[in-house]
């Protein structure tokens, strides 16, 4: 089979798998968030937390709950790392240094999973599964709750209540993430992913040297890493490591897992706002963007660039031979489009334009299809923006999903579209302006070196977590600034989105008729794709010019 045929087959299989679960999972999640029954284990959790599961929260209370919960998570995760050597299952590893511990805590609580460290050499088993893996579940769940609250903002009217964060969070963990994770773990183990609690094996290699092969609960962590669009690998090589991702089939399954929830949530959205076509339209926009970026990345990687790759016949630097160009490009697009940040190849080693595609894909704001929950709410905010401009063009003050977009909503939308680019650009500018920070650049004095820094802040600001490996980011400066950018890039938009949800929920619905802008048709899908590309494209075009374009053209 040729590379192209194999590549197309993978893409086709992936789309078919997603199509198969789209309706059942989307529908199931809609029921999860609209049901008023609590499972026994959930009731136990509520009792433990002291939560009244029937209490409905205002947007402000909901937001405070998200923030309080995340703050506690941040502190716990920080402390677990700082006290590692005193805790069991540390594998003899020392306490984590404070800058790195902050960066890692911020990274996992913000669902970014940026890793400034080599996991197998830094984190023991306890930190890995009681700290990091737990956050992989909780931060993913928190993202979904915010999306659900925004959906309720559209679906409800004349109320200031958006649901209960604690209930949404608990249900997401117990009814959505855990069951899929268990199933997924079994599948991955069957495919050959490692799952044990051993400290590793000493083996003698063919040339006679001894080598340490660290083991651990890899498969269980691998599943939630993808499913929760987290991306923090058990090993430094992430999904490029054969213990995490042994073969093309497991590779495809991992890509499937990371797209699973963000894609299916559009169905949940359509069902909850009682207009399935709206969900299809949002999925259409996400799918179009994902397909376009996959196409571009695959094209650039296959074309290769430079004499070395042409001599080698393929741009295989930094890629696993068991995956090749197609599966690497597919993984790269899917991981940068979902805010996952897991990698099965080194993005740093991609062709300039291929790497630039991954970079630009993150810059879209993680909406194609985005992280768990974050992708949906990010796209809905952009939809509101698109409707605002397009709505005027049909001669009505704009409305989306029967809700008016007034000055108040636009203020929030404006803040939202401002927040992440400001963090990314300001962070990059500070780093590039400081000689000390510039010293971390591996490919100094080349546009690629600039791309490394830009990639780091883009990844952090958009909560992706993948990296251009050339940058030595485990320095006090980068640990601190990237940590702050991750936290702000996560929680500022969350508060804005919840405020927006509250604002929409209060409104009375406007009846839909012939004069209403149709937001479920192909024309609107095309327009929203254009808005996403132009709004983010215009913001980042200058920096992309100085980075990947300067290198690749």
């Amino acid at each position: 089979m040729s590379d192209t045929a194999a590549g197309l087959l993978q893409v086709g299989l992936l789309v078919a798998l997603l199509a198969a679960v789209y309706r059942p999972l989307g529908g199931y999640m809609a029921r999860v968030y609209t049901s008023d029954k609590d499972a026994r284990i959930e009731r136990g959790t509520y009792k433990l937390l002291g939560v009244d599961s029937k209490a409905d929260q205002t947007w402000a209370t909901y937001a405070r709950s998200v923030l309080a919960f995340s703050a506690v998570s941040l502190i716990v995760l920080y402390l677990v790392q700082r006290l590692q050597s005193h805790l069991p299952l540390s594998l003899g590893l020392p306490n984590v240094e404070q800058g790195l511990a902050f960066n890692t805590a911020a990274s996992f609580v913000s669902n970014t999973n940026w890793q400034s460290y080599s996991p197998e050499a830094t984190m023991g088993h306890l930190v890995q599964f009681a700290g990091l893996a737990v956050q992989n579940f909780l931060s993913a769940a928190a993202g979904i709750t915010v999306a659900i609250a925004l959906i309720r903002g559209f679906a409800r009217s004349k109320t200031d209540r958006l649901g209960n964060f604690w209930v949404d969070l608990t249900r997401t963990v117990f009814r959505v993430l855990l069951p899929i994770a268990v199933l997924g773990t079994l599948v991955l183990v069957a495919m050959g992913v490692v799952q044990n609690l051993s400290g590793g094996h000493e083996v003698t290699s063919l040339v006679g040297q001894t080598q340490h092969l660290p083991g651990g609960p890899v498969a269980s962590q691998e599943v939630i890493k993808e499913l929760g669009t987290n991306g923090g690998g058990f090993y430094n090589a992430n999904s490029g490591h054969p213990f995490e991702n042994p073969n093309p089939l497991s590779n495809l399954f991992e890509i499937f897992l990371l797209l699973l929830i963000p894609v299916s949530l559009t169905r949940t959205f359509g069902l909850m706002v009682k207009d399935k076509r709206q969900g299809y339209a949002i999925l259409g926009v996400m799918g179009t963007l994902w397909a376009a970026f996959t196409f571009a990345a695959t094209l650039f990687e296959n074309q290769g660039a430079g004499t070395a790759t042409q001599a080698a016949g393929a741009a295989m630097e930094g890629k696993e031979t068991r995956f090749g160009e197609w599966a690497s490009a597919l993984f790269a697009t899917s991981t940068t489009g979902t805010s996952t940040g897991a990698v099965n190849s080194a993005h740093d080693s991609f062709t300039p334009l291929g790497g630039g595609t991954a970079l630009f894909h993150m810059m879209l704001g993680e909406v194609s299809p985005g992280g768990t929950g974050t992708g949906l709410y990010g796209m809905l905010v952009l939809a509101v923006l698109a409707v605002f401009v397009a709505g005027l063009m049909v001669g009505r003050t704009p409305e989306y999903l029967k809700k008016k977009i007034t000055a108040r909503e636009m203020k929030l939308v404006s803040l939202y579209i401002l927040s992440t680019p400001s963090l990314v650009l300001a962070g990059s500018a500070i780093a590039m302006g400081l000689a000390g920070a510039r010293a971390s650049i591996f490919n100094a004095d080349s546009p690629h070196g600039f791309s490394e820094v830009l990639y780091a802040f883009t990844s952090a600001g958009n909560n992706n977590g993948s990296a251009f490996g050339g940058l030595s980011a485990n320095t006090p400066f980068f640990n601190t600034t990237l940590g702050l950018v991750m936290l702000l890039g996560r929680f500022v938009p969350i508060v804005i989105v919840l405020a927006l949800a509250g604002s929409f929920a209060r409104q009375q619905p406007v009846p839909v008729n012939e004069g209403t802008l149709p937001t479920h048709k192909a024309l609107f899908v095309a327009m929203l794709v254009g808005v996403v590309l132009i709004v983010t494209g215009l913001t980042y075009f200058p920096v992309l010019t100085l980075g990947p374009l300067a290198e690749g053209l």
Partner: protein, 694 residues
């Protein structure tokens, strides 16, 4: 009710005065220049964040131009200032059009004195009009100017309101009822009235009109505020993108000058829409003024675009103001032609619209040539009066009469004739169907007998069905309001093609209907003129009061139609929509423009360090300087080029939202993407000839 009373003659619908004001006259740019220069004051500019940023940039580059002087820098400086100036010009031109109108109104407001009555109405005192207070009583006689807004409390007079409406035909104003309101500055032509002043000095209708057309009291509308927020945030995004560039460029070994950065920033921020936004708003209000509608707030104009339900009064809006003859129904033993002939003869002296319609019907349907009163020299005509309620003719020994059933029956009895039962049935039948029956009778040789009945009925105005179909396509529901019974209302509603009707409507019913619609989230527009319409006018999202109406109605509504033409509601909705479409289209255009500007400027900035980036120079612009300058010049010129569009509003054809979006997205989205590539290239070809640039 089958009486025929002469209805008050409705004012003829005035064709909107389009004059020259609807068109954009390039000369206005010149005359508005002083105003535009005055607006450069930073304290004024700061209200428009986008253009304020441009002004600050222009100021900064001017200072830099003195220290680091070059042809290129000075060209940039000049064009940055022109960008700001063009924006101010757009606004000044829009405002200027209102100023002429305001001047006319001011003339009407010239200092008049008032004859103030004492409280006991016995003595009278000459006071300046400006000193009149609420509740003061003033006497106005023929030839005098009414000193202030108020209600007639005594007497009846004909008033020339042309100062406000531009309509020269005088109108009747009388105490009591729905025609009691008078406006200060208008002139009493006949008789004497006593007016009770209802507004405080300086807040009169004319004062408000002046403020309105001058744009002095213009406040930003909700949607405009929302759009301004978006534009401000886009400005900040591009400011971020620009101010963070120097460290990145420095790393690449490129030294970016502040002048170049300012040029980039100005090209990226949405200056086109930022410059034209307020002109669009002013022009929207102005388009209403041109149609003789005064919107008391811009908010109402915007709401008009959003209206979901139109409440339209039947009479005057959907049907012609008067009923018209639709058929002749003869009694047994009389032929139709015979009846038609008698009806026509008896109506020759009836100058009411109903009377005319009988003559016309006889002519068109029975080919009875219209005879003139002069053609029958020996005939004696009996003219229609409201007292006799009949008209007729005495000719060749015959007496023919036509009129209300009661009046004619009485006449027959007087003439010693009898009335057959069949006539009563016919009359009742027509009444029940909502029509008005007129009886025709003849008296020959002392014997009077009825000939038959003329059926007068409501005639739906031409083109209404198409109008309502358009409304439906736009998602607007039309509801006909009428005092008629259900049956009549239903027949007319079906004929006119409205979506719904409210029969036997009382003001309370109207109010309830509005509330019910609003409950469902719908916006309601209505017209009204009576005092009992006032609560409903206030409740409606768009309440258009007729200028002929009471001051209570005018106070309650948020628009006043000076022509008192209820059909105009439909035009108002269209103007509201056009305003929003213009705003959205130019925003889209403005943002889409940026793509080309990047392709002009970025290669110019960076290709020296990274020669590969010259591939982005897809327009093949001459030099770095000419590329940057071309983008800046294009950015400025496009403002001026779009001023006429902003003032006129984009073309608007009622159609579904999908069709409108497709059309406008194609023109202003795709057009906005493509046109600057062409424009910048052309400018580059020109300016590359300038020494020091090319």
């Amino acid at each position: 009710m089958t009486t025929l009373t002469k209805p008050p003659a409705p004012k003829a619908a005035v064709t909107p005065k389009k004059a020259a004001s609807g068109l954009f006259d390039p000369k206005m740019l010149l005359t508005s220049l002083p105003d535009a220069l005055r607006k450069l004051d930073p304290r004024v500019m700061v209200k428009n964040p986008v253009m304020f940023v441009v002004e600050v940039g222009a100021f900064a580059t001017t200072i830099l131009a003195f220290t680091d002087s070059s042809v290129f820098v000075w060209w940039i400086v000049v064009w940055l200032w022109l960008t700001v100036l063009f924006a101010n010009l757009a606004e000044a031109v829009a405002e200027g059009r209102g100023k002429a109108q305001a001047a006319t109104l001011r003339r009407a407001k010239t200092e008049t004195s008032a004859r103030k009555l004492s409280a006991d109405r016995l003595s009278e005192q000459e006071v300046p009009a400006a000193s009149l207070q609420l509740g003061d009583l003033v006497v106005v006689e023929a030839g005098q100017i009414i000193p202030g807004d108020g209600d007639v409390v005594e007497g009846v007079a004909s008033v020339d309101e042309s100062a406000i409406t531009g309509e020269s035909a005088p109108v009747i104003r009388e105490s009591g009822g729905d025609r009691s309101a008078v406006t200060g500055g208008t002139k009493v032509l006949s008789d004497r009235i006593v007016v009770k002043i209802t507004t405080k000095p300086g807040e009169s209708f004319i004062d408000r009109m002046i403020a309105l057309v001058e744009g002095a009291s213009r406040q930003k509308t909700p949607n405009e505020i929302a759009l301004n927020i978006l534009l401000a945030s886009l400005t900040i995004v591009f400011l971020m993108a620009t101010v963070t560039l120097p460290p990145f460029a420095e790393y690449a070994g490129i030294d970016l000058s502040i002048v170049v950065l300012v040029a980039l920033l100005v090209c990226l921020i949405p200056t086109t829409i930022g410059a034209l936004l307020s002109a669009i708003g002013i022009a929207g209000m102005d388009r209403l003024v041109q149609r003789n509608v005064l919107a008391m707030s811009g908010r109402a104009v915007e709401a008009a675009g959003d209206v979901n339900t139109l409440l339209l009064d039947k009479t005057g809006t959907i049907t012609l103001g008067n009923r018209q003859a639709s058929e002749f129904i003869p009694l047994a033993g009389v032929t139709e032609t015979e009846l038609a002939d008698a009806a026509q003869l008896s109506s020759l002296a009836d100058e009411t619209p109903e009377g005319r319609s009988i003559v016309v019907l006889a002519k068109t349907r029975y080919e009875l040539r219209e005879r003139h009163t002069g053609e029958l020299p020996h005939a004696t005509f009996v003219e229609f009066t409201a007292q006799t309620r009949m008209s007729g003719v005495d000719v060749d020994g015959r007496q023919i009469r036509k009129g209300a059933a009661g009046a004619i029956t009485a006449w027959i009895h007087d003439q010693g004739g009898t009335v057959v039962a069949e006539l009563g049935e016919l009359v009742d039948g027509i009444s029940a169907s909502g029509g008005t029956p007129l009886v025709v009778a003849i008296s020959k040789e002392g014997v009077a007998r009825p000939l038959g009945v003329i059926h007068l009925k409501d005639v739906v105005k031409e083109g209404m069905r198409e109008r309502f179909d358009q409304m439906r396509a736009m998602g607007i529901r039309t509801v006909m309001i009428t005092g008629d019974n259900r049956l009549t209302a239903k027949a007319i509603a079906e004929e006119a093609g409205v979506d719904d009707f409210l029969a036997e409507a009382t003001p309370e019913d109207k109010m309830a209907l509005i509330k019910q619609e609003q409950e469902g989230g719908r916006l309601v527009a209505m017209t009204g003129d009576g005092t009992n319409d006032a609560p409903a006018l206030a409740q409606a999202d768009v309440g258009v009061a007729m200028n002929s109406g009471t001051s209570a109605a005018k106070e309650a509504g948020n628009m006043v139609d000076l022509d008192s033409n209820p059909t105009k509601l439909i035009e108002i909705v269209e103007i509201g929509k056009q305003l929003l479409i213009t705003r959205g289209s130019l925003t889209t255009f403005s943002i889409a423009n940026d793509v080309a500007k990047y392709f002009a400027i970025l290669p110019a900035l960076f290709a020296t360090a990274y020669p590969g980036l010259d591939k982005l120079n897809i327009m093949r612009l001459d030099s770095a300087e000419s590329a940057i300058l071309s983008a800046v010049i294009f950015n400025a010129l496009v403002i001026i080029a779009l001023v006429p569009l902003a003032l006129r509003g984009v073309q608007y054809k009622p159609s579904s939202a999908s069709a409108m979006l497709r059309r406008n997205l194609l023109i202003y989205g795709v057009g906005g993407l493509v046109s600057p590539f062409i424009g910048i290239k052309l400018i580059d070809l020109l300016i590359s000839l300038i020494p020091g640039i090319g």
